[in-house]
Symmetry: C2
Subunit: 193 residues, 2 copies
């Protein structure tokens, strides 16, 4: 069985989207700046970090909101090429897409979604790829083993914060790898229990 | 003339103190966790990072609140060993302390304080060592050249955020150095104008 990791891009001031993220404006008003390291600027080590994240991940878990804002821009085939489990309150049939992605909708909570994704991932990891609230739910549930933050050297000033409403129960992590690339610093943390 | 840099310890979730920082509880309810890398755990590279920050800094600038909560625990001699300029609204005579620290109180604003500190620093840097509001004032005023964040792998959940109320005018930075030590990841950014 693999691990459960979260991979997410964050501005230095802690935002994972610019202001006003919504359907039709999936990344908020940030023009994709937080994800440049994956696309326009993805060369050399940046591309390797991205390839590695895909290679280790057997199934992806995401929140309903991320799915709603993302499904149109991701298109068909979506970039995932593996099963995607969407945490939602709405019963819905699976959506098989081209290229190996199938969106599965899970209505019975974080534990059930994690079990399904773990089974689908096989020997590989479950990747929690957003949004912030879903990452936090798995972190608080003690189900997150690793957190890789792609720290982008920009101050956005506003947007959706990755770390918010965590409460006062401290969580210790350990930085287990740092890779510096021109467009981001890739920090991998182990969650200590 | 040196640069103006900010050197500050921050939790992974963006806090520079734990909850309830005030006089008598200068670091908030964090038991000094954010500053372990400087003290208990300062060995090898961690100690080098701290020594370097002191060596490059000819004068220190800080906010009134940081001074108020810090002056008692810092004691006499304080750890600074160089002139310290405190931004305040209250006229007050300089306080010469043992070991080379003198606290100067500047009442005519961020520019004036910066000029005084720059003159006192000579060839070396002005170090803006906190708090968050003072760092942000210099950042917004375009007077900050570099920002070194000692990123501590803990989620505090609450406290004083370093980056808040920055508004929507984006600020681009460039990561110019990363040092990973057991207790913190030391990220140095150049502020791009």
């Amino acid at each position: 069985m693999g691990k459960t990791h979260c991979d997410i891009s964050m501005s230095l001031d802690g935002f994972i989207t610019g202001p006003d993220a919504r359907v039709g404006n999936p990344l908020g008003d940030d023009d994709g700046r937080l994800h440049d390291w994956m696309f326009a600027m993805a060369t050399g080590e940046g591309a390797e970090v991205l390839d590695e994240a895909y290679a280790r991940t057997g199934a992806i878990l995401m929140g309903r909101r991320m799915f709603d804002v993302g499904v149109e821009p991701w298109g068909d085939p979506p970039p995932f090429q593996r099963p995607v489990f969407v945490l939602t309150h709405e019963e819905r049939d699976p959506m098989p897409m081209q290229g190996g992605t199938t969106y599965h909708f899970v209505t019975d909570g974080v534990d059930a979604a994690h079990e399904l994704a773990t089974a689908a991932a096989g020997e590989r990891d479950v990747g929690i790829w957003g949004g912030a609230d879903v990452m936090r739910q798995y972190l608080k549930a003690g189900l997150l083993d690793e957190l890789q933050i792609h720290l982008v050297p920009i101050l956005l000033g506003e947007g959706v914060r990755l770390f918010e409403e965590l409460g006062r129960e401290r969580i210790e992590l350990k930085c287990i790898r740092t890779i510096e690339t021109p467009a981001a610093t890739h920090l991998r943390f182990q969650v200590l229990r």
